[in-house]
Symmetry: C2
């Protein structure tokens, strides 16, 4: 019997997840279904949104099921094919999640061109995280000349937001991150005009210093203090792309809201929540714009890669603590 | 010497304004300027937004000046004219505020057709409050079939919002107000599908009962508990027209924000602040749609009229406490 390994959600975390919320199980290797493929995974994605869906309450989609494999984006090699559309040896993207082998229906697998870009890019800058950044700038009605502030700027989404805004003619791009190294990375390597470590002092003060003329767009990845500071800094007709709030996913009690909502009125602000899943139709135009920028080295990205499927739970916990720079991935 | 009377902002209120924050002063009657008119006021408007501008901090516009006449919408009769555009006896709308007589430059006076509608309507349903409702429904991207919740629904703006939404095909219109009489008025006279007294219990519970299928649009006039409840009730792609927050204008400390902002993400909500002053270009289309509805009795309005210029400060204080149904006006 050939074996495979799966990582399952063992229990719903209360507050910060722990390793005990996952179980690692050896199982019989699956067979490809009629018209499907068997994929041996090469790399998989851990993402902040997964924390929301580990809780019982419905977030934007049904919660992950306890006892089932953790879903999520992954890339692997076809090792058996019962589909005319896929040949053995081809590399595909799918969302069957944290497992060594996945039986994937043909319609849920997307062929990846590993000559055009490194395959890991398809889980990051050229994947849903890149598309999230791309869609968010549209939702925020970003325009040339805007000053943009992005929180979690050294993360997979934030780093694309900042660079893309800059490439498209932002007047000034400011990022926040959680370490001096990340701040240096933003300014020295990604071309941010300014960046600060939110652990160094109040966000409002650091943002005001970095954006003396205020901001026009805020790309929200963090929540809490960041949101309140951004609302205070936004200029008239400012816009917030409300993408995620990683600081709040572990909350067990209602979190304080921004105390300055009246500024939404005074400054005619727009706060707009969005989810990348509603914007997948943008993918062709997204790839047409972004892939060349990546290839030319104009849009840079980093990855934090952890080796070994069994380390995926720890990688995920580390991601929630901000241990990553750029996309957090697990290589099998 | 002919005299006139002015009501001035005597001091900036801290918390709830009091009568001591105003002074009533008899002055020499003004002369019309070159090319202007002298207006004897007949009726003037007191509005919640005035409270924001009585504070020192800049809100959306510079604060009212201490020692100066309270600005605001007013209607009066031309008693002297030095303008070819205006004849003695004509009735004009202007914004020279709380005074018995106003010298108004011609370009700041607008002739009122008192045959088309009662003149007080031009300070309410056909004036800036009506236009606020009209613009807010546009900002909220209201569509036929939406369920709409409006707070402060018995007020000048809220009562137009609810009726207009209903006339345009809302599936369901729900209002909140601060007394049983107002609630009855909304349902029995204005055609709201449901209404509740926010003082009777938690807004979230009353709203959930009134909107079992959730809401699509929230028109914000109140703030605080109302906003949090509305965010919880909004369906996917729901929209908030953030028009005013009367519950917070007297706040001396930062007010708690909505603790459920994560719903903005889960439900892809849009919160949009707006000010009627940015939307005056809508006035022709607004009047073309609304004036006939008012004339035909399809769009009803109430006024709470206080007699005597000297009672304007008390009328304003009462307005902030919710003593009015419909537009609060002072008749001279």
């Amino acid at each position: 019997m050939s074996t495979a390994t799966e990582i399952r959600l063992a229990s719903r975390p209360v507050g910060a997840p722990t390793l005990d919320d996952f179980s690692i199980v050896d199982v019989e290797r699956p067979e490809p279904g009629e018209g499907g493929v068997l994929v041996r995974n090469l790399v998989l994605s851990v993402d902040p949104y997964m924390r929301m869906r580990m809780s019982e309450a419905k977030a934007y989609a049904p919660p992950f099921e306890v006892g089932k494999v953790m879903p999520g984006g992954a890339i692997g090699e076809v090792i058996e094919s019962r589909s005319a559309a896929f040949a053995k040896g081809e590399v595909v993207l799918h969302s069957a999640g944290w497992r060594s082998h996945a039986a994937v229906p043909a319609e849920q697998a997307v062929k990846i061109d590993t000559d055009a870009a490194p395959l890991t890019a398809y889980l990051g800058v050229l994947g849903l995280t890149g598309l999230t950044a791309y869609a968010g700038l549209i939702e925020a009605q970003f325009e040339e000349g805007d000053t943009v502030f992005v929180s979690g700027a050294a993360g997979a989404v934030g780093s694309v937001v900042g660079q893309l805004a800059k490439l498209r003619g932002a007047k000034r791009v400011i990022g926040s991150a959680g370490s001096a190294d990340k701040v240096a990375h933003l300014v020295d390597e990604l071309g941010f005009d300014a960046a600060f470590n939110y652990k160094d002092g109040p966000v409002a003060e650091q943002l005001a210093a970095a954006a003396p003329d205020g901001i026009d767009v805020y790309f929200e990845n963090v929540g809490g203090e960041h949101l309140e500071a951004a609302i205070d800094a936004l200029n008239r007709n400012g816009r917030i792309a409300y993408c995620g709030v990683i600081s709040q996913y572990n909350a067990t009690e209602p979190v304080p809201g921004p105390r300055n909502m009246i500024k939404v009125l005074h400054q005619r602000l727009t706060i707009r929540g969005f989810l990348v899943g509603d914007h997948t139709a943008l993918r062709p135009q997204f790839l047409a714009e972004i892939a060349p920028l990546v290839k030319q080295g104009k849009l840079r990205y980093r990855e934090t890669i952890v080796d070994g499927l069994r380390n995926a739970p720890q990688a995920f916990l580390d991601l929630l603590e901000g241990a990553n720079t750029g996309k957090m991935l697990v290589r099998l």
